[in-house]
């Protein structure tokens, strides 16, 4: 599965199938939340939250790809990521794009 954030795939002709998306909501356990709260007092990277967001992005992407594969797509173009806070310490990541079929010439 080819994943790109452009609206084309270099050297390929494509046929649009449908919008596909994947999403997830992640949080860390209270121990990590407390440790990261203390980290904000001294500054620097919040590694646990960074890991959490990386995991969330990977899972959301996997779900989007699964939806595209179910539709018989070869690639997803125009991929965009978005995130928002759902509650204290929990973030939603949503990824969406256009599933396309590559037309063999």
């Amino acid at each position: 599965m080819i994943l790109v954030n452009t609206d084309f795939i270099s050297g390929k002709e494509i046929q649009t199938i449908s919008l596909v998306k994947g999403s997830t909501i992640h949080s860390k356990h209270i121990g990590k939340d407390i440790a990261q709260s203390f980290k904000t007092l001294v500054g620097g990277e919040l590694k646990s939250y960074n890991e959490m967001m990386n995991e969330a992005r990977a899972l959301a992407t996997k779900r989007m790809v699964a939806e595209a594969e179910h539709l018989g797509a070869d690639a997803i173009i125009n991929i965009r990521y978005a995130s928002s806070a759902v509650m204290q310490g929990a973030a939603e990541v949503i990824v969406y794009g256009t599933a396309v079929k590559i037309i063999e010439k």
Partner: protein, 74 residues
């Protein structure tokens, strides 16, 4: 003064103040409470002070590794 040392001053001061606060709080709990409660409740400020020390050390290591604006290289 070296930029790294300047950046370390505030995290160290904040950590020392908070650790002292938790240790004094732990001391009060030990002095005022009786029996097993002094240990059960005393564990909490001790654990928080250890977490504070850990994040301070993590921050100092980050500063030593150098977090200067790398984007200027591009």
């Amino acid at each position: 003064m070296n930029l790294h040392i300047k950046k370390m001053i505030v995290p160290i001061i904040v950590s020392v103040i908070l650790v002292l606060y938790f240790v004094v709080y732990f001391g009060f709990l030990i002095a005022l409470l009786d029996g097993v409660w002094k240990f059960i409740l005393g564990i909490i400020p001790l654990a928080l002070s250890l977490v504070m020390v850990k994040v301070c050390i993590e921050r100092i290591n980050e500063i030593k590794k150098g977090e200067e604006d790398d984007i200027s290289k591009y």
